[in-house]
Every structure is written in structure tokens, then in C-alpha cells.
Symmetry: none
Subunit: 120 residues, 2 copies
Amino acid sequence: MHAFDVLGDPVRRCLLELLAEGEHSAGELTAVVQERFGISQPAVSQHLRVLRENGFATVRAEGTRRLYAVDAQPLREVDAWLDPYRQYWNQRLDALATELARGKRERHTAAPSTKGKGAR
Amino acid sequence: MHAFDVLGDPVRRCLLELLAEGEHSAGELTAVVQERFGISQPAVSQHLRVLRENGFATVRAEGTRRLYAVDAQPLREVDAWLDPYRQYWNQRLDALATELARGKRERHTAAPSTKGKGAR
DNA sequence: TGCTAATATAAGTAACAGCGCATACAGTCG
DNA sequence: CGACTGTATGCGCTGTTACTTATATTAGCA
């Protein structure tokens, strides 16, 4: 299953957003999602399974609860997929020549560490 | 339609990857996709429509041909969505530790299928 | 003014993803 | 041990999505 397929579901995105804050038990996640989407516990559990099986989340058992945590690995792949388009970040929309020049410059400096934090 | 929904389809991703190189006519795009996925021209056209209607691509008519170009705006949103997870980019060692812990647990929890990557 | 090429739309269909329900499994507590 | 909570799984059902075939639209050309 491709990373974008996993992220294509709003429930799974919601789960990941919750996990972005940190570890949460399946119960907590289920509660929030149930309130927000009105779906059943098994439905949430299935989404958690998808996240697990595709490497988006890791699980740790604590007593009878299962604590989920985010694993950013697949998200890194998504980030990598976006790379070729970063050159359009500033370039595409505006007709302003000045902006265009700046975009070009950034494009040239694209080196190993392409992580776009600085682009903002 | 959410950006991730659009990107969830492999044909549309392929189209966007082609467009990342620069402008292409619908015919060129169709030819490549047809060869790679074995689908019909209307099918490709429909995917192009989805890209258009969701702001992933812009169209410019040139004679009887239609030239498509990428519009990175929605991809920027995707990039923004990834932001909260960037803090985990370098924490993969922790994740690995969690993974190992889970592996041990699984001996007990009877996980029948090896959850490598496949899953379909 | 028809004819052809390029592309888009329409209508119908088939496959798949996600849901609820019922239930199974694992750990904890009395 | 046995009851109880937390979580996962199996299975039909259903709505959505993407496909195919057929056709409409628009531009270029003889």
C-alpha cells in the first residue's frame, strides 16, 4: 500500500495528527475519532492496523492498553516525493520577476540537505 | 476533495511526476500513462480533470492540444501538513527500539502474518 | 464546408475501501 | 478461577471510485 493511500483517509490523518503530539493509547485515539467521525471502535482499530502495517505507527503494550506512537519513516518518503516540486514553491504562482529570481537562486543551492525548513 | 485523496491514485501521481519536468500536452501524458498502466485515453483525461479541478495542474490551450503544467499550491499544503512530524525525522532510533520491543511482545500476542511491507 | 486529429464528457458497470455487528483474544482484578 | 475491560478480527453490506465504450467538442486543413 502506498503512503498516499494510507494518508488518503481522513480518519487515519486524524489519528496521525493526534499521534503527532505524542504517544496515545488505542482507547484515547478511539474516543476522539469516534466523537469526531461517529464511527465504531472496530472501525478505528482497523485504521490503526493500516497505520501499523504500513509503518506509520508503532505499538507498545502496557498492561491491557496499547500505546501508539508515530513513526515518521513513511512521511519522510512523502517528503522526498515532494522534493521535485519544491522548485515551484516560489516560482510558479507569481509573475513577479524579483520573486522569480529568488526562487531560482534557491533552486541552485539545492544540496544534500534539501529539507525545506528554510524555504519558509 | 482532499489533497491526499488526489495523490492517492498512482496514475495521478505518475501524471504529476511527468509534469514535474515541465509542461506536457495531454497527448504526451496519455501516451506514457497508457503504456505504463494500460488504461484508456478517457481514463487518463478524467484523471487530468481531477488534477485540474483540485488545483494541482493548470491548462493552456495551444491549437488543438492542451498543455498541462504543475501548480504546486496544493502540494505546499501537503508540505505544511507534514510539518509537525519533521521533529521525528531524526528520531528513528527510538522508533527502532520501540519496534524491537513490539517484536518481543508479538511472540505472545500471536500475530499470524508477518507484517513486513507487502500487505495489499 | 466537410474531414481528421486531439481532447473532453456521458453513461453504465465492476472493484474496492470502509463501516457496523458480532465475536474472539489478552491482561487485570476480585 | 471467573468476570470484566480494552483491543483486535471476520464477515456481509454499501457507497464511492475508477474503468470502458460511445459520443460530443474544438481546432486545423484541404
